[in-house]
């Protein structure tokens, strides 16, 4: 969706405000929200793209005004509500998902305290081996698709319709645009694509500079 989360290249947000010696968390409830979220994800009932799509659907005004971890609370509420596990009146106003299937109720047992460090160190591997040959090769010129899906996408607006060069093959990954909607995983090659700054921003940009972005195969056309 062309939501407020997709801010790359927008203007008018002001200066980058840095906090000297910033703590990892500012509030006790932020600490608890973080710890709860990691354990909730470890249960396997919901995936990160689904939760991202929830925060993207928070109304723009609220998205900008509310602190980051409130979005996390909101996304856990949404994951519980859409599975009928709770019926929580959300903290933040938002739009409904578009094009989502019935979510899975499957999950593993709760992660016990003694296994936390091992689980964090193991992570959640997401790269998958596939037989399919990548459609594009190193050095190919590609065109980011000009699409405006109503649902979740990891193709940001600022590269759509722009021409870039494949500079890396990253392996295959499930397309977030589908799993955010509880649709069956679609494994696709992901490419590192280099866009010259002038291709994206015009003649005012430095001719030396470039943006590198990882795009799934279905985000790209041959140029």
């Amino acid at each position: 969706m062309n939501g407020i989360h997709d801010v790359g290249g927008m203007q008018g947000f002001g200066k980058v405000e840095q906090e000297h010696n910033e703590p990892v968390f500012h509030e006790e409830w932020e600490r608890r929200t973080f710890g709860t979220m990691v354990l909730f994800l470890a249960s396997g009932i919901a995936c990160i793209p689904e939760l991202r799509y929830s925060t993207e659907r928070i109304y723009a005004k609220e998205y900008l005004e509310n602190s980051y971890f409130r979005g996390w609370i909101h996304s856990i509420e949404e994951a519980l509500n859409c599975r009928g596990l709770a019926e929580i009146e959300n903290l933040l106003p938002h739009s409904a998902p578009i094009g989502s299937a019935q979510p899975s109720m499957e999950h593993g047992p709760p992660l016990p305290k003694d296994f936390v460090m091992a689980a964090l160190a193991a992570g959640v591997p997401s790269r998958v081996e596939t037989e399919a040959a990548p459609r594009f090769a190193l050095g190919d010129t590609v065109l980011a698709k000009n699409i405006h899906p109503r649902g979740h996408t990891r193709l940001p607006r600022y590269v759509r319709g722009k021409r870039g060069e494949v500079v890396g093959l990253r392996g295959s990954f499930a397309l977030d645009d589908r799993i955010a909607h509880h649709l069956s995983p679609d494994l696709q090659p992901v490419y590192s694509v280099r866009f010259p700054a002038r291709e994206l921003w015009g003649a005012d940009a430095s001719e030396n500079d470039a943006i590198y972005i990882d795009l799934w195969e279905s985000h790209l056309d041959a140029a």
């Binding site: 290249g9 980058v16 910033e22 047992p109 964090l120 600022y158 430095s206 470039a210």
Partner: protein
Amino acid sequence: MSDSHSHSHTDVPKAPALRIKAIETVLAEKGLIDPMAIEEVIQAYETKIGPRNGAQVVARAWVDPSFKERLLADAPKAVAELGYSGLMGENMVALENTSTVHNVFVCTLCSCYPWPVLGLPPTWYKSAPYRSRIVMEPRAVLAEMGLEVPAETEVRVWDSNAELRYFVLPMRPPGTEGWSEQQLAAIVTRDAMIGTASATISPDEQKGAHA
């Protein structure tokens, strides 16, 4: 509206502190989390998993050319040699700064960040000003943050919008010849590994090193 449903309406307070408490209770009741484990997760990122890890990786790469080669070829594998791995770093890529290329990374769509080496991101990294501007006017943003990049240097901005997670291997500052790995790690800041700063030493440190 909720009364006609088979499940009960969950009454949760507006204040986030009370709300997350209520959610913890719901998640525990549904068998999804063990509340006793929450503090363990939090403390891992408050005390163990943070930018000091990344600084150790950078220092090692500065003193050990073969480690640097492994780091640039397969960052998760090389970083694991120092004991760091896992969540949000399963597919890390190290970006080497040189005299001709300066790297900086962002997540324009959300807040993706290489947790095993840098911990959790600072607020500014997750903010709309940084995410919106660094892709379009990186030199202006870096200058505001105190880093002037020479015009002839190529600035590469990496948007970590898919499953790849980036971190920057800054240039080793002159005047650090002969320093130990621990001395070197101490001058590697979080921002140098994001690419919004460089690794530098103060004039005092320079003097001390020469003495």
